[in-house]
């Protein structure tokens, strides 16, 4: 029972609920709602915890408001106990009606237990009237039953006799109360009246108390109603001047010892204690120790894996951190170390002597940052509170700057890297506009806090506590941003500078994260090439599988941004390459940690789900999924539609460029009725349909109808680029799909159709002709394209397939041989002998190859017996892969994708077959 202790600290009266004034009622709306919860659902743990939360929420600060809260909490606990008691009484009455003595007996036992509990809760020895009345009624009924002697079952009779004995024994203790009750039997409804009068007397009592307080104010400055009654807080009642170093130290140690054992409420108490202590310390070292303890105790108040720290707690931590920083700044001889002190300090060291105090600022900051993120995740991103919370970022940044200044001054470079990384993580996702806004806000706040009186610090300083101000501070500790916090105008420089720090001092993980952050940062500033080069230089895409989940998420986010930036730059192919891995899996949300996706066929264990929940990125850092999806689908469309057109004209099945798009198209075609497009996919599908017939105008209108383009600052430029691309691809598609039905095409006509300049049309057509997509030639004098109708004969087709297959087989063979000679047989003699044999066979094959001469792949195959050639091949292959392609692998799938469509010179006549043969080799 969390509230036990608080109950203990309050007064004994049972009917204190009436004390609540109207003012309090309004202030504790939330609390009373939780009350009703707890009373309705007996003693379920959930209601208990909710009450706890309510309690801790309001029990943060000091003095008056706190005592009010105390009463409210007590009331709820009492209410609950009373309700239980009454319920049992009613049950007993019901059983009395049916003469079920066995049930009455058990219920009576239960009632007694409840009474005990109630007494414990209320800390009163008084007996509720309901209980007394019950006793009276039971006695009466028992006597009546005994007198009447009704026919009862054997068990009932036995229960009756036992009941008689227990009741007699039991009632002996309550004779006095029962007598009083019998004299003045009041019904339950009337109960309120006397209790109110009682409460009035209580109120006057408390007033009296307050009066005495006032009288003795000089002596007990910081005494509070709640605290006075606590016997153990002797320290608080003492004159601060009398408090010695040892006393504080002892108390501090006591609190430190209690870490990890006690409940949350104890912590609350401890924090109060510590705050008080920090005011009466005998020197900066001790004060520092106390403050650090404040932080650790506050950190202990919540489980980081479960729910985030509450805002006041967070603010308190932040403020305490600032205080620590100020202290450290003022007393440069004090340093913080990671290792706890071996021996206890007995006396405050001389001022100016170098002293070490236990504490890890980097870790504190990290925790604070995590808690901030956690609270953001818990909040509704569309509510105002989210915005409010977001404003605290400035505090965090100021603190981080302070800490890193300190760390730099003390040359703790590894921690400095950690802090720098944290700072980068606050900047990397911000566009210049957002950054400027944040900067403005931070400066504004800095100014505010510079102008504001010393109130916030006063709240923590128990010595100068002033009733009014302290109360305000409890509601919301306004963390002051120190005046020396400066936030540079250029975010890029800042990030660059911080990244340098991480690169210089961080570990591999930190470096990787910093690198990804800078790549992300560049991406959102439209520096695609710079970002891509940085990413490729790091070679991180080759080891995505070994990264931890958090970093994989960051990596995926970076890749997504890279894709978006490529799209903005008009690099459709690159954009598609980046995004295809994200969309190929169909679980974008999960990969970007922007929400939990439910999968049809796989159940997640609760642990997995919790882990996923923890991975989530706060809302303000999200990448807009709609934009991402449209970008991906449009880039896929621009690549896929011409490819589809070319595979239609020749019946060779080509590689599918974008599986998700194909799947969508299949679904789309299966529909019997297709309505007007509604979502992103519909729009893109409609655009695909139009573009497939070369109708770029309609495709463009569908694409521009998407709402997500307004998210782009450079909307016009992007749409212009899109228009251009659609025109080109439309032309290409048109030529591929319908070119073979023409004998000649007028370039002027094409220019007109696709609104392209003649040069562009010429370029597109030439490219198509060169790529063997269109069997045609330019006829310059007439300004036409003459289409040749050359279909490969069946024999040619077959020969093409044959060459494909043969080359594939040769590849497979080589691999098998390499495995046999390289990997399997390391034994040298054995291997040599075998290799010799192979060589001989190879030679024989060569002869055979010569004999079979013209037949397809045989000639080539015979030649490859030797070892050198083979290994050369392999080496070339492995060196070739990473250099070749930029490929955005997701979760370890970062293999190089071969993009070149080199043509085999032997098969130029057969065009596309040669190309597909080369591709088969990968």
């Amino acid at each position: 029972m969390a509230s036990k202790f608080w109950a203990a600290s309050s007064s004994e009266e049972e009917s204190e609920e009436e004390v609540t004034t109207s003012e309090e009622e309004t202030s504790s709306d939330e609390g009373s709602s939780s009350d009703s919860d707890s009373s309705s659902s007996s003693s379920s743990s959930s209601s208990g915890s909710s009450r706890k939360k309510g309690a801790s929420r309001f029990l943060m600060g000091s003095s008056d408001s706190e005592s009010e809260d105390e009463r409210r909490v007590v009331r709820s606990a009492k209410d609950k106990a009373y309700d239980e008691l009454r319920a049992t009484c009613n049950e007993i009455k019901n059983k009395m009606h049916i003469n079920d003595w066995a049930a009455i007996q058990t219920l009576f036992d239960k009632l007694n237990k409840q009474l005990e509990r109630t007494q414990k809760v209320t800390q009163s020895l008084g007996v509720p009237r309901a209980y007394v009345r019950m006793l009276c009624e039971l006695e009466d009924f028992l006597n009546k039953t005994l007198a009447e002697k009704p026919k009862l079952s054997p068990t009932n009779t036995r229960a009756l006799t036992r009941m008689k004995q227990t009741l007699r024994k039991h009632n002996a203790a309550y004779t006095e109360q029962m007598r009083l009750f019998r004299e003045n039997p009041v019904s339950e409804t009337e109960e309120e009246a006397p209790s109110s009068s009682e409460s009035e007397s209580e109120e006057s009592g408390s007033e009296r108390e307050l009066n005495t307080e006032e009288e003795e104010e000089a002596k007990f400055k910081s005494v509070r109603t709640g605290v006075v009654q606590r016997p153990k807080d002797k320290l608080l009642t003492m004159d601060p001047k009398e408090i010695t170093y040892e006393m504080v130290q002892k108390k501090l140690q006591e609190i430190a010892m209690a870490r990890g054992k006690t409940t949350r409420i104890d912590r609350q108490e401890q924090i109060e204690m510590l705050t008080y202590l920090s005011g009466v310390t005998k020197g900066p070292v001790q004060k520092l120790e106390v403050l650090i303890n404040v932080i650790t105790v506050t950190f202990d108040m919540n489980q980081p894996t479960q729910n985030a720290m509450t805002v006041p707690n967070w603010n308190r931590c932040a403020q305490t951190m600032f205080d620590i920083m100020v202290l450290l700044d003022e007393n440069r001889h004090i340093t913080l170390t990671d290792t706890p002190p071996e021996e206890e300090r007995i006396e405050e060291p001389e001022a100016g002597t170098p002293t070490q105090v236990w504490g890890n600022l980097g870790a504190f900051l990290e925790r604070l940052d995590d808690e901030w993120n956690g609270s953001l995740k818990a909040l509704d991103p569309h509510a105002n509170e989210y915005m409010e919370r977001l404003k605290d970022e400035a505090v965090l940044l100021a603190l981080a700057q302070k800490v890193s200044d300190y760390l730099q001054a003390h040359n703790e470079l590894d921690k400095l890297a950690g802090v720098a990384l944290k700072r980068i993580q606050h900047f990397y996702y911000k566009t210049d506009v957002v950054y400027a806004a944040m900067r403005k806000l931070a400066l504004q706040r800095q100014q505010d806090s510079a102008e504001a009186p010393e109130a916030p610090t006063a709240a923590l300083d128990a010595e100068v506590v002033d009733g009014e101000e302290a109360e305000g501070a409890t509601e919301l500790i306004v963390v002051k941003i120190p005046h020396d916090f400066n936030i540079p105008e250029s975010c890029a420089e800042l990030v660059e500078q911080l990244a340098r720090v991480v690169y210089a001092h961080g570990n591999d993980n930190q470096k990787g994260q910093a690198m990804l952050c800078t790549v992300y940062f560049r991406c959102i500033r439209d520096d695609f090439y710079g970002a891509r080069d940085t990413l490729l230089m790091s070679r991180i895409q080759e080891q995505t599988g070994q990264l931890d989940a958090k970093m994989q998420v960051l990596y995926n986010r970076t890749i997504a941004q890279l894709g978006l930036s490529a799209f903005r730059a008009g690099l459709i192919f690159e954009c598609h390459q980046c995004l295809m891995d994200l969309y190929g899996t169909g679980r974008v949300k999960e990969l970007l940690a922007q929400g939990i996706q439910q999968h049809r066929f796989q159940e997640k264990t609760p642990e997995q789900e919790a882990a996923e929940r923890r991975r989530q990125v706060p809302f303000h850092m999200h990448i807009n999924l709609e934009l991402l999806e449209s970008t991906y689908l449009i880039s896929a469309m621009l690549l896929e539609v011409p490819a589809m057109a070319s595979s239609q004209s020749t019946d060779v099945r080509k590689r599918v460029i974008s599986k998700p798009l194909r799947r969508l198209m299949d679904n789309y075609e299966r529909q019997s009725f297709t309505g007007p497009p509604e979502n992103v996919r519909d729009h893109v599908m409609a655009a695909v349909r139009s573009l497939a017939t070369g109708d770029w105008r309609r495709a463009y209108s569908y694409v521009t109808a998407l709402s997500c383009w307004s998210l782009l600052p450079q909307k016009e430029a992007v749409l212009g680029m899109l228009r251009n691309k659609l025109q080109e691809e439309g032309l290409r598609t048109y030529l591929l799909a319908y070119g073979r039905f023409y004998s000649s095409l007028s370039i002027a006509q094409l220019c007109d159709m696709f609104e392209l300049p003649e040069r562009k049309v010429h370029a597109v057509v030439s490219r198509l002709i060169a790529d063997d997509g269109l069997p045609a030639s330019h006829d310059q004098p007439t300004g036409t394209i003459v289409v040749h109708h050359v279909e490969p004969t069946r024999l040619q087709t077959l020969a093409g397939t044959f060459s494909d297959k043969a080359s594939l087989l040769v590849d497979l063979n080589e691999r098998a041989l390499a495995m046999r000679t390289g990997a399997l047989h390391t034994d040298d003699d054995d291997g040599d002998g075998r290799r010799g044999h192979d060589g001989a066979q190879g030679g024989r094959r060569t002869r055979l190859g010569g004999r079979l001469g013209g037949v397809g792949g045989f000639g080539g195959r015979g030649g490859r017996g030797g070892r050198g050639g083979r290994f050369g091949d392999r080496e070339r292959g492995s060196g070739f892969m990473p250099a070749e392609g930029f490929a955005g692998g997701v979760f370890g799938r970062g293999r190089g994708r071969r993009t070149s469509m080199q043509r085999d010179s032997n098969f130029t006549e057969l065009g596309q077959f040669g190309g597909s043969a080369r591709r088969g080799r990968t």
């Binding site: 087989l809 495995m819 079979l852 037949v855």
Partner: protein, 338 residues
């Protein structure tokens, strides 16, 4: 026709000297019968029949044949029926005093597609009772092209030896020095006609082929043949790739197993060290029997046969194109001359 020597004598001679089979002498009448039978139900099914004749020294004389009804090899429940038919036929022939000594069988084929596992099985089962049997393969596609696609084949000694020992592994093939070309042996075929038949042929034949105008010979229609052969080659390549896949799978499995064994050994060694330290008897280092079952190596037979098939297709293509090319050069020369 020489008086046939008694069976007993022949059998004895056969056992005495095992002169290698040098040629197969086929009666013209047999060829006609085979051609008729095979072209009758050309298409999906393979037509087969029995070859009868004599084994004389280095030559195997095939003097008669009779077809099997339907397709004997493919459906198993008809095997018994086929056998009884065969025996019945043999009995009838003996009664009519015709040649009834089995020397092998004939079968139709499309190009080189006869080279499958079944033919090897049949050969081996024939060879159990009949050491010197042949199979005459009649190529119906060649017949379409106007050529006589007749081949007498048998299995090579080495191959049969290796085959009888069980599954063909790479090691075994290597040890025996076998290659895919050593599976089948082709025996030259000589056509023998009785003087009567020769006389009849001379009577029936048109007066002179040289003088007749035969432009048909200059036809360059090889495309169809090439197409067909390429198609078959493609199919073969697919099969070879499947085989290749099996092999690489095997290699992977084996490698994995080797790793597992090595791991086991390392573990055991550590365990043994611990045991030795504790003063206990060390356990044997080799893994117990049956712990690691050896991975079954894929049979190489299919691979060899596929190679054979492909070789024969290629040969067909070769010969066809060679002819076409020579015709082209001929034409070129002619045109120059004109």
């Amino acid at each position: 026709m020489a008086a046939p020597p008694s069976f007993a004598a022949m059998a004895a001679r056969e056992q005495q000297k095992k002169a290698p089979l040098e040629k197969v002498q086929v009666e013209g009448q047999v060829i006609l019968k085979i051609a008729q039978h095979c072209s009758q139900n050309e298409g999906a099914t393979i037509s087969t029949g029995q070859l009868l004749g004599l084994d004389v020294g280095g030559t195997l004389e095939v003097t008669d044949c009779f077809p099997y009804p339907g397709n004997s090899g493919e459906e198993h429940e008809e095997v018994g029926e086929g056998e009884s038919y065969q025996l019945e036929m043999m009995r009838c022939l003996r009664e009519t005093n015709a040649d009834n000594n089995t020397v092998g069988w004939y079968q139709s084929t499309i190009s080189g597609s006869f080279q499958v596992v079944e033919i090897i099985e049949t050969f081996v089962s024939y060879m159990e009772s009949l050491e010197r049997c042949v199979c005459i393969v009649y190529d119906t596609t060649a017949a379409l092209g106007g050529a006589l696609g007749l081949k007498a084949i048998r299995l090579s000694e080495q191959f049969v030896e290796a085959y009888r020992e069980g599954s063909l592994t790479i090691e075994k093939i290597r040890a025996k020095g076998l290659s895919w070309r050593d599976v089948f042996v082709e025996i030259p075929v000589a056509v023998h006609n009785s003087p009567m038949a020769a006389a009849l042929a001379a009577e029936v034949a048109p007066p002179s082929e040289v003088t007749a105008l035969d432009y048909e010979r200059l036809n360059l229609g090889v495309a169809q043949l090439l197409e067909k052969n390429l198609e078959y080659l493609n199919d073969c390549l697919d099969d070879v790739m499947v085989e290749q896949g099996k092999l690489s799978m095997y290699q992977q499995q084996q490698r994995r197993q080797l790793q597992a064994v090595a791991q086991f050994k390392v573990q055991r060694r550590q365990e043994n060290m611990a045991r030795r330290a504790a003063g206990e008897e060390p356990l044997p280092e080799d893994p117990p029997e049956g712990m690691f079952k050896p991975v079954a190596e894929p049979n190489q037979l299919d691979n060899m046969l596929l190679s054979n098939q492909m070789a024969s297709y290629c040969q067909h293509i070769n010969s066809a194109t060679q002819q076409a090319l020579s015709k082209l050069t001929l034409m070129e020369g002619l045109q120059k001359g004109l």
